[in-house]
Symmetry: C2
Subunit: 169 residues, 2 copies
Amino acid sequence: MTELGPLALDAETMVQAVGVSERPHKPELRLWLRMLTCTNLVEALVRTRLRAEFGATLPRFDLMAQLERSPEGMTLGQLSRRMMVSNGNVTGLVERLVEMGLVERLVDPADRRTATVRLTAEGRGAFAAMARAHEGWLAEAFAGLGIEDRAALMGALGRLKASVQEVQA
Amino acid sequence: MTELGPLALDAETMVQAVGVSERPHKPELRLWLRMLTCTNLVEALVRTRLRAEFGATLPRFDLMAQLERSPEGMTLGQLSRRMMVSNGNVTGLVERLVEMGLVERLVDPADRRTATVRLTAEGRGAFAAMARAHEGWLAEAFAGLGIEDRAALMGALGRLKASVQEVQA
DNA sequence: ATGAGATAGTTTAAGGTTGAAATATCCGCT
DNA sequence: AGCGGATATTTCAACCTTAAACTATCTCAT
């Protein structure tokens, strides 16, 4: 590890510090950073409380939320696509949830490649409690946002989503 | 993401597709899911291209972006706070970037607890190239968004950020 | 001076995440 | 029947991430 000289700034650094003509960031960048900050703040809030109050993690909660909407179960592939995460990721998450007794894996006899996953009774109960709390946390987080801001966000984010998806294709 | 095809459905889309649930979701939840979807889509886009075009990762790029704004360097603690990630996380990221020769660590003789990190010349060059591309990707992603949507987002997200931070306190 | 408390970083264990390669199964065609 | 390509999932190595415990250093009130 190099040592910082007695003078904190050497010649090169001075040139930089003086010569930086702060070229203004493109507006898209500023908007993106702000969006990212908001998402990170809310996510951190939810993650912390899930952990503190339920000993749960956000990815597991998300997976259970998907299953709760499909009482008949979902395949790992469906989970992967809807959660927008990789296949291998889902494999591991399901593994841990099965071990905890919150979900169960079923093999489809008609197609032995696919595995169907669904909540157990215990899983449904656990999820219900977490979901109720989760809604409350979000209401808290968004409490300072007026009705017109909410509407504006819903609209603009919908169009942003379409815009980004356009690029992906 | 190995193969998230164009048919990938995200959580928010599923809510709409499944539609009628016994209890309609609170509006905050729908708004939150939509925001999360947008963020994830953009993040996936940036991450994929950083990897494909520069062999870089998003966290390392983010760290270098912080350093680029402080030519005099930043301490690990400052980096941790600005990036909103844990201390230990920064330790590891810096470790790898030092090994790649993109940043350097300096010990402050006046306070031997603190380590200052700054970009090397090579790091500045690498970052400049990535930052230019990054701006272009964002412009692409946001291209379908009108000027009024952008303004509305900036405003509403600013107030949302304040609202969430209020809760944290 | 010095010791208690504050501050800066590191380490560790557990888990999340990806992208790519590998395995297993199925389907359609001949 | 059986082969070749498609589909579903697992495995793997590498990396990211956190929370909590730990080390090292500093500051300040006495």
